[in-house]
Amino acid sequence: MFDKSRDILAYHDSEVTLPQAVRTAMRDRRDSNRDRLKTQLNADGKPLPREFIKQGSYAMKTMAQDSDDDYDIDDGVYFTRESLQDADGVDMAPKAARRMVCKALQYSRFNRDPEVKTSCVRIYYDAGYHVDMPIYRIVTKYGYEVYELAAGDKWVESRAVDVEEWFDNENQRQSTDTTNGRQMRRITRLIKKFARSRNKWKTNIAAGFTITKLVQEHFSPNADREDKAVRDTMKNIHARLQWNLEVQHPVTPNAMLTDGPNDAKTAYLRDRLKETLDELAVLDEHDCTSRQAADAWDIAFDTTFFSQRVSEAAKAANITVLDNLLSKREQPRQYEKEGGGRFA
């Protein structure tokens, strides 16, 4: 296979992983929301959360850059059960809890007001970016603390907080390296980036968490070749989806990430993987050129990054070639400025 490992790593570092400045901005917004929530709940005489715990792709650090800045941060708000009971010990309804949090998050500077959703409160920022704050209550069962999500009209046990731990453990266990987030995390980001590379795919393709689970299941590590790792993982996922489109939640027992055995979104992912793997077949041809390999990866990720790198490398090499050609000239003096000393 034509070696584009360095280009894949460069693509990941440049175009996939979130720049630190973006992560910092996200964290700052998250912290502002937390502070605003606590302040307003206090002012309203409402119960205060015991803690906040980040969750989702933001917590797992598997977010990939999005051309529309369509990022979704999940920041869980955790109340004790007791704090959500009234004077008579009656539990606050899930919807009421969400409304309470939503009201406390209102802020005159938002262009769009926060909204109560089925399982969270959503705070909107410009350019499609939003923060979801699911509301949890901490319940003691059998001597253990259990977290219940305010989902719809019910309090539903949820182990979202365990997802981050699950991913970190798997990343450490399966990756052969220890730097740059480790390889499984990088491959997760790359395949999520692939899945959202075309606007028309975004709403039709499997969710990011589903993809994360599939990568964890079928990750193909390669210490020396990042390009092989991503392609082989894609192959593995495609093969898996060909016989089973259902994906289980990694930590919540009996919970599924997909919608039945014929889940349309995982099927869509399967079909897009097939097309892409067909395009990448050129990498295995014995006379595959650097330009052809770059073009194939460009198609895979719907980008011009790889071909531009080929052009840039060629450009950079031109100056060295010129020096070489100059040194090989038959004679250094190629012309006489004064025409050989003849005049008329």
Binding site: A314, V321, R329, Y335
Partner: protein, 586 residues
């Protein structure tokens, strides 16, 4: 005829350039965009500091005889960089350079490297001084330099008032009204216009301006000129005497001359009043406000065509030019030899030349005279003077349709005062008279005599001073030279139908050597290079001498040695002849 060589050249350059990993052949449309006949081209990115710029190698249709050109793409605007031509072509090698033809690929690579260095220097801004050193190349490319100045002034003087005439040919500028009138009369003899002469400022700047300082308005011009010069220019603007400014500035490569025109009267309102006077009664606007309003008016650049002596006779690098400009030569005889000598003296820059000859030009003279068919039947002296004045209008050239005696009678002072009198008459009677007159009047300055032997196989130029040998010292009583260079088996003069009609056969080529012999000695005499009596002889190639039926004379061989194959100038001893009638008189 050279299609095969072109094809090989294209292949060779292509084979060389394909070593670049990123190289692209130019399309036919891209080649056509250069408005020159380039038949092949290649673009190579990544060679210069700005990665957005690419270099191109362009092969002309006469390659390999014609050199490749290097261009930068996309092209910066003209005048953004020195050495940048239209369409991004780079001026790397002078047009008169020679190059090796064997390996077009190597040449292309060399020029590519020089183009790379040039572009990087332009990007770094380290060669901006070249805008000053090669000022005229950039000034002529400035779109606003559309006016024309014809320059007759001294280039090395200070800021001063000079004089101008606005003609249909451009504005002619001179240090004196008299010089301006003479020049116009010489240059445009057919014109019936009387020059209307105005005074204008000529300002000397410290250095030629760079394109970013080319003025768009009068205000810009005054800023460029500097405070003292600006005040000087303002006097003329306010006086509305002129709408022209002439400028000169020295650089390491010589003097740059340029100018400006502006229009103070173009500023009229629809009712015929002047916008610049808006708000004031006519004639009541304070000068300060008027000047302030004038400052915003646009200026037009003027390209200069220098027609002054210093430029024409050596591009300011001929030390003799100034000296020769002041010299006066009387040239007696404007025949085949004399017309050529006169032409050479004028081209060398002798300031005043009086041509004297009473004869008419005939058609049989055309093959070896400076004049042409349009002058046949006309007097040689005045006609040739007119021709020389039109060719070099800054010189003072007069024609006198007189023989030498009549000229001496009518203009005796000229023969006395001239820095050099040259006889090109080849006439014993006239020349002995001239020789005697020079001795009698104790003419302090040199007199020259020049003539040719048969078939112009030898030419003589003799310069006599107030003391020492004279013209007569070289000849016996009947006018035979004591020592001739050539001898002939048969009579060389040919006859034609006509009383005493005969001619000496020689052509323009043989003649030219004798003309340059005489002119060279004349210049030496004028510039003090020869302060003693001198006799120089041109000896033609022996092959030509033999072909014409002649041979070297025994006397010459005995006295001065054999000329052998000839084709040389020799200086022979020139001494007083004891039998010279003039010296015996004394």
């Amino acid at each position: 005829m050279t299609a095969g060589a072109l094809a090989q050249s294209v292949t060779a350059v292509n084979d060389t350039l394909k070593a670049f990993p990123a190289v692209r052949e130019l399309t036919a449309a891209e080649l056509a965009s250069y408005k020159s006949t380039f038949v092949a081209g290649w673009e190579i990115p990544g060679l210069v500091r700005d990665q957005a710029l690419n270099l191109r190698v362009l092969l002309p249709e006469d390659s390999p005889f014609g050199r490749p050109r290097i261009a930068v793409h996309p092209a910066p605007p003209l005048l953004a960089w020195p050495h940048l031509e239209e369409h991004g072509l780079l001026c790397i090698v002078p047009s008169n350079a020679s190059h090796q033809l064997r390996n077009p690929g190597d040449l292309a690579v060399t020029l590519l490297e020089e183009g790379r260095q040039l572009v990087n220097e332009c990007l770094n801004g380290t060669n901006q001084e070249d805008f000053e050193l090669e000022f005229e190349s950039y000034w002529s490319r400035w779109p606003k330099a559309t006016a024309r100045l014809i320059w007759l002034c001294r280039h090395d003087g200070p800021t001063r008032e000079v004089f101008a005439w606005k003609s249909t040919h451009g504005v002619i500028v001179s240090d004196s009204p008299a010089e301006l009138r003479d020049w116009v009369r010489n240059r445009f003899p057919q014109s019936s216009d009387t020059p209307s002469i105005i005074a204008i400022p000529l300002v000397r700047l410290d250095r030629p301006p760079r394109p970013d300082r080319y003025p768009a308005t009068i205000s810009d011009l005054l800023n460029l000129a500097g405070e003292a010069n600006a005040a000087f220019i303002e006097r003329y603007i306010l006086g509305q005497e002129s709408e022209v400014v002439a400028c000169v500035a020295a650089s390491a490569r010589g003097h740059a001359t340029f100018g400006f025109r502006y229009n103070l009267t173009d500023n009229a309102t629809r009712r015929g009043g002047r916008k610049v006077e808006r708000g004031f009664r006519p004639g009541k606007m304070p000068a300060k406000i008027r000047m302030m309003r004038y400052r915003s008016l646009p200026v037009q650049g003027a390209r200069v065509e220098r027609m002054d002596a210093s430029w024409i006779h050596g591009r300011d690098q001929n030390e003799m030019s100034d000296r020769l400009k002041t010299k006066h030569v009387v040239l007696l005889g404007v025949g085949s030899l004399g017309s050529g000598v006169a032409s050479l003296l004028a081209q060398t820059g002798v300031g005043t030349i009086d041509l004297v000859d009473s004869e008419l030009l005939h058609s049989q003279n055309l093959s070896r005279h400076e004049l042409g068919a349009s002058s046949t039947g006309l007097k040689k002296a005045s006609e040739f003077a007119k021709s020389l004045r039109a060719r070099l209008p800054h010189l003072n050239i007069s024609g006198y349709d007189l023989d030498a005696y009549a000229f001496a009678k009518q203009h005796p002072e000229k023969l006395v005062e001239a820095d050099l009198v040259i006889s090109v008459m080849g006439d014993w009677r006239a020349e002995t008279w001239l020789n005697s007159a020079a001795i009698e009047t104790r003419r302090a300055r040199p007199t020259m005599f020049t003539w040719m032997e048969p078939h112009a196989a030898a030419g003589h130029a003799v310069c006599v001073q107030d003391e020492g040998p004279c013209f007569r010292c070289l000849f016996d009583e009947s006018g035979n030279a004591h020592v001739k260079a050539t001898k002939w088996r048969e009579r060389t003069t040919r006859d034609v139908p006509g009383c005493a009609g005969s001619f000496q056969p020689y052509g323009a080529i043989e003649l030219s050597n004798c003309q340059s012999l005489a002119a060279d000695l004349a210049i030496a005499a004028l510039t003090g290079g020869e302060a003693r009596p001198v006799h120089r002889t041109w000896l033609a190639r022996e092959k030509n001498l033999t072909a014409a039926g002649g041979e070297w004379s025994d006397e010459w061989i005995e006295r001065y040695g054999s000329p052998n194959v000839g084709g040389q100038i020799v200086e022979v001893p020139f001494e007083i002849w004891s039998g010279c009638p003039e010296h015996r008189k004394q």
